[in-house]
Symmetry: C2
Subunit: 321 residues, 2 copies
């Protein structure tokens, strides 16, 4: 992915090849984040602290599948949104994703030393800097969305901010991380809590699903989708998000650390509640495939122009890293 | 302050008494934050994690002068903005202020055990919960601003988001905190760095001044201020912010822990760079008073309706806690 070259505004129309589309968007997002985080250095009289900017760049540049901006860009493409605007909105979603990784890796949270084969931000810098880097990546996401360059309509920009904030906050991603820490037995008796299947699904819908679904919905809002289209796309995003998370749980059991660029079997070691532990490996795989098919089915109202999104739902289930 | 009763939409028009206006806005902000953080509990199918909500409430309710929302409300009043809208915008600014306190108090940052005479969030809960509580308070600030209840115009709402994000991020509050940690000698040789007066002023303009100035500017944008009015009010906000910070540094030397509800002489103990250490106590007091007068002078284009803002600039310099 890191070898993909940015290609300006040409987002590869008509190319049904998921892998090349993913690589292209990843390259474009990398270039845009690089430019956005570089541009801030030109802000004039107020000096920007170099250490904090470097930590923000460490936490957001240099890799990842960029699946969330890909979903934003491909959904926006259904409605003919200008690629430059879709990429900005996708970059904002990715900034939120990156902030969450920086904070989740902290010693007080999941305590991870490596991420994508590199030291995590608090390892490369220090805990205080990592906390601030996460904070500023999150803050910057809203700055990018609210900037007129993202869309000419203030109503659309405000709607994007509202959507992203709701998906990321107490009722979404951060709330899901809290439930996850609690399920590990961090508070109270100290023993991992045995969550029901329903509770695990709710936790995952918040922790991972909400932001993935928002990635899709943001593309729909950018494109002025009808209420019906937006509902269908939101259902697609939720099912894809759930499939993605079960696939992640399965990879934690089946993949090697080299494949993932991070430690595996961590979930098991921590007694973490996953659908693999709740349902067993075989049933979890069937559930993953069912959710992937559900995501594809949600796109029934769209034609061949949504084939890349359909392929993305299958990819979310079948990926090997 | 905590005994002040919220009084709905009646924001005390025509009352020039700063203390009663401050108390009234503080009560209204407390009630609004309580309602906003309570409302989220009604969001329907997605459960909100009770521990995280409790930590958010611990970090945002129950005190503080609420100076920032006061500035937003009083500036908005100059332009006849509906109090309910001004209070929502002020609550968003206060949420950012509260998030910054929760994170700054963490062991990896300033390592404070008490705040306003109560345990800090990581002491009352734990570090992971405190990190997430700060994250969600920050995220919620943008949700509140982007909500149509804050203003009917999407352009205005997006402008408010942009303003608050810029004041809070890399070039503003969080960047200032990074410079502050660096000046304490956290990174590198370990010895506190001797900052020049110019560097101290820049650090403080970012760490404290940017959000105080934004509090004022947000009121101006809500009210549809002209470019000239907005420039004057921004200058007022910056000077008030600088006066406020010098006053804070002076209080750290002169006040008792009981007065402040937190430890004092911490700056000196840490060898922290302040204008008191750079200029000496007497010169710092003269500078505080000069900045306060500069803030008042910036309001020359406004009439008696800005008297409360003028009084606030004097209060920022003369406060005893």
């Amino acid at each position: 992915m890191s070898s993909a070259q940015p290609s300006g505004n040409d987002a590869g129309h008509g190319d049904g090849d998921l892998a090349s589309r993913l690589a292209q968007t990843a390259g474009e997002i990398e270039a845009l984040l690089d430019a956005l985080l570089g541009d801030a250095a030109q802000d004039g009289e107020i000096a920007r602290p170099a250490r904090l900017l470097a930590a923000m760049r460490h936490g957001s540049l240099g890799g990842g599948k960029r699946l969330r901006p890909f979903l934003t860009v491909e959904t926006a493409r259904l409605f003919g949104v200008a690629p430059a605007q879709a990429l900005r909105a996708g970059a904002a979603v990715e900034l939120v994703h990156c902030y969450s990784l920086v904070h989740d890796d902290l010693p007080a949270m999941d305590d991870d030393d490596t991420r994508r084969g590199r030291p995590t931000v608090h390892k490369a810098y220090d805990e205080g800097t990592a906390i601030l880097a996460g904070d500023t990546l999150l803050t910057f996401a809203f700055e990018v969305l609210a900037d007129p360059a993202t869309h000419s309509s203030g109503d659309v920009r405000a709607a994007l901010v509202l959507l992203l904030a709701r998906a990321s906050g107490l009722g979404g991603m951060a709330g899901g991380q809290m439930l996850d820490l609690a399920a590990e037995g961090r508070f109270g008796a100290g023993a991992a809590e045995k969550l029901s299947e329903v509770e695990i699904r709710r936790l995952q819908a918040m922790k991972t699903g909400a932001l993935l679904a928002a990635s899709v919905e943001i593309g729909a809002v950018l494109g002025g989708a009808s209420a019906g289209q937006r509902t269908a796309l939101a259902a697609y995003g939720r099912a894809l998000g759930a499939a993605f998370q079960v696939a992640d749980d399965i990879l934690d059991v089946e993949a090697s650390p080299e494949q993932l660029g991070k430690a595996t079997a961590k979930d098991q070691d921590k007694g973490k509640a996953t659908l693999v532990s709740a349902l067993g490996l075989d049933a979890a795989k069937r559930e993953r495939d069912r959710l992937s098919a559900e995501a594809v089915a949600a796109l029934a109202g769209f034609g061949a122009e949504a084939d890349v999104l359909r392929a993305a739902a299958r990819f979310a289930a079948e990926r090997t890293n």
